[in-house]
Symmetry: D2
């Protein structure tokens, strides 16, 4: 098995993914998509930024839309730590790995450490973010797919084994993974901190690039309602793949593209993984039910398209194996 | 508009589709599929036949599985009339059209008229069928997709305009139709007697052949449950297309194949059409949302595969236009 | 069995219930309730009237809200006939029963016959109503409970046997009924024309009064969403009973009160009844699962509250048996 | 605010509730209820014990049914720790509180510490339990309500403030609570370790007694299906309360009683609470939407009935305030 033993006592305690900042061309178009289709709630907006949260979140933002002359790039992926001291321990960790570290100012966040992972994905860590009043029982506010919370990131990595080793060190634990039977290398892996299937996943491909950011909804009907809405409001071509159920993670999924090409997953039906002795599930790259339990292949774009991170230069994947692609 | 005015005062009163008899190779394999996957209830079985009904039906059978040395063919499609006199008026109607007619004995049915339509589809009409006690509130019996009732037939016709004209004479009313813009000919049409979107539909193609027989379920979750069940019980390759929503009829659909290649649709989300002045909805053959509101194309097999009727010799379609097929 | 044989060849052909006109005190308050909570679409409005339709309806209106100095009364219940001649035959029928008849002008309707039934419920019949373009696939318009169509009326009758006899003559067919075992009299009955469980139902009680008008939704989740919405937008006290499943009709139900006290039912999970030989289901008044399959009793208000019809004077029920009421 | 600050660095790390052992009179009757109605999977059974798990669980058991001459009592509530050392630190913690401690042998569990909390609830802690292969994708095994995992315990406490203080010391964090406005005392509190709304909750009342043990399901339709199943298989009188939505925890709920009177909750729609700065939500005891967001009051039995723990003698609650009870 190519998956390392979990590090149950990491140097610092990340409790969960928190947010991402996406660069966009047109705030008006993005606002419409993120509020009317995705159904996120605006918590602040300026001429250059829109802050959004999902319906059960109390933190100020899970998505920041940033007006940019490099639309379709990702500025940073954010994580929340258990306490303030974890931020200092994180700084030491990243320095020990030879990664750049910097303390930055972020609106609505406390002390924030900006750094990057082993393949250059820009990461930021904070402990404090402004807390807002609950809105999950204000049912008149629910719109679009009615998203409850941000769930995970998924990134292309040119070397999934290396990415898994790095995040494993940080205490991320593998829940499911895909192995290329020939090379015994990892094709993909799902890693969590918060007790679900994942906070972060890696897929073999030209990277670093963001494959998608995902939102959790309670039932497949949220996703079917979204498909009906998108299909009849001018967004039919933003639907990329789904609905379907992944063999991996058992998730009922839909993949859509925002106006700048950032891929968003809407997702339900994952499971609880918080036991420290929770065993990862192994999948073979050639198993067609890995991608879609129901047998349908994914479109080629799904394996090839991603959005780059600011300040990085993606490199080709080392592993050349191929998954099953729709003809 | 290529659709004829409805005949509101037909010669005889068909109230709804009733049942079909499917020829199969192996009753044991078919029984397993129809009871454990489809979830139909066996109402009688012999060495050569299995009779089944759906959960809210009181009539004795909606599907008859018949052991045959011509498996993968359809024996007959059955309809129920409003009264006994309608059977005699039906006989006169079919004779006037030059179709063969015969009174046949069918277990559990009263007087039954066997005939065929203009392209040779074998049809039988009865008024009486044995009535069984309700089981729709015996929830412990629900299995598989939990089907509530047979909903419609869909057949390939080599000339949809002619098929529509014939059934229009019988009082079937068009609810939606697809026109080839160039030839102004019908590509497909949906026709009803019972006040839903259809009892019978026709699709352009080598025919006569059955395209599918459909069962009604209340929610998309029935269909998602079925996909999960089929995927993990050895039936993943019997899943052909879906889940998705048709633009036409607004139906949330899934198409699966039984062990002999008979296509079954599971279907929900249609609408009430019983007004005599209900206007048919026009779709253009080139509209991609016609087939799937959400944009995905159908697989080629869906346009090409069908099961032949006993005693017929399908002929090629006259209309050579092509719909949008998955690449 | 106290239910008469169905009249399969009635004097005139009613195809379905069509609409009702409700008298209200405050059009602004009612508009808000009917559009934001019920989710009906306004098709016209004046200083004195608001016309509404449900999402799959093509007829101009299913509800008319009429500003009135007698709010909380019902003006009329409307039905659609199969053709124009049915209107004349209806006039003859009602005259033969000694009921008053009058041809009235109704906006958006063709020739309309105003009359009343045996206990004085004001009824109107039309064949033509303005037809509107379909909106069932304009998913951005869906609001509130996302109602698809008007489904049925339910009225208090002081003598259910007499009401059933009268509507039976008109060709309404009983699908389910409740009998008082002691007196062998009907306590309640459900009667249909359109092939569902009912277009009209009668319940023993001071009458004539409207018990409720019902809308059809596809799944219980529509109803749960409505409960969440009403509970958090100031309408919690408008929730009267439910959610639950009736033993009778198998309907998953919710009863709510509009701002003038008109009771509205939201309803799903009924079944198809169009066979002319469809057997009515018998329930005993003392069977607790009759009212709620799951065992909970209905609140007393549900048995006592109703809204009067204009120009009628309700009389007490003759049958004094009592159903099971919540303590 | 009567809720103590959370103890973010407790002496030992409980990761989640794990299981409970329930004393029953008749293993055959209980097996039927727990497998056919609840849909749990048997993982082992002997003449005296049945071990069960839910569909996504990998641990050997979440429910142990124990044949007993004191049926309707609870033997113990079990929790899982992060590591083996936590067991020793737990022993020291309970000793320091003056509670009895004992190392016991439990089949399928590693080293197990038996002790009790401040009001005498028997608790056991283990780190290791036999791990089983995943079955969550064996959809043919799903039965009954299709439970995914054990979710929480709820107990009557004669002094909720004291219970909250004790579990707060153990690192359980309050997510929601009900305060009696007059006395400023806690009426009820919900406390978690695993990042959901609760692992353990306390309700004011004669205690210690178990109020209920809860299972998580993904959608309200699981619960509606269960109601239909119970109502038509002889279990209608085992339905006590629901379906409804709690204001507190936002949970869509159903309460049922097993053959020995142990109360089981089926539950969905809670939310993620893993932030260490997650603010508890305050509810007033007199707020009718606290119990049921939709306004319906709970039956009296729900406030009064509970099942005793072996070896304890419940005492009356000190707080005499009263919630809103159905008339
Ligand atoms: Ca969790
Ligand atoms: Fe994902
Ligand atoms: Fe179909
Ligand atoms: Fe009703
Ligand atoms: Fe609970």
């Amino acid at each position: 098995m190519p998956v390392p033993d979990p590090n149950l006592y990491p140097d610092f305690n990340v409790i969960r993914l928190s947010h991402t900042c996406l660069n966009v061309a047109d705030l008006t178009a993005s606002r419409k998509f993120y509020t009317e289709i995705l159904g996120l709630q605006v918590t602040d907006e300026t001429d250059t930024h829109i802050y959004l949260r999902a319906m059960e979140e109390r933190g100020h933002h899970c998505i920041i839309l940033q007006k940019s002359d490099r639309p379709g790039t990702v500025e940073v992926m954010g994580f929340k730590t258990y306490d303030e001291g974890d931020l200092d321990r994180a700084e030491a960790f990243f320095r020990s790995k030879g990664r750049p570290t910097e303390w930055v100012q972020r609106p609505y966040q406390g002390r924030t450490l900006l750094t990057s992972d082993n393949i250059g994905i820009p990461l930021e860590f904070h402990h404090k973010m402004d807390r807002l009043d609950p809105i999950h029982q204000q049912y008149a506010l629910y719109r679009g797919v009615k998203p409850l919370r941000i769930d995970h990131f998924n990134c292309f990595s040119p070397e999934v084994d290396a990415s898994v080793a790095f995040y494993n060190d940080m205490g991320f634990r593998v829940t499911e993974y895909t192995e290329d039977a020939d090379s015994k290398k990892l094709w993909a892996a799902w890693m969590h901190r918060k007790g679900g299937v994942h906070d972060m996943a890696f897929t073999n491909g030209t990277g670093p690039r963001m494959h998608h950011v995902a939102f959790w909804v309670p039932t497949p009907l949220n996703i079917i309602d979204l498909l009906d809405l998108m299909s009849t409001t001018g967004y039919v071509s933003n639907i990329e793949r789904g609905p379907g159920r992944h063999g991996i993670s058992n998730a009922f999924f839909l993949y859509i593209l925002d106006p700048d090409g950032h891929r968003i997953e809407i997702y339900c039906s994952d499971y609880q993984t918080l036991d420290p002795d929770h065993e990862p599930i192994h999948w073979d790259l050639k198993d067609p039910q890995r991608q879609t339990l129901w047998g349908a292949a994914a479109p080629q774009s799904w394996f090839e398209h991603g959005t780059e991170f600011v300040g990085t230069k993606p490199v080709e994947a080392m592993l050349k194996a191929t998954p099953i692609i729709a003809p």
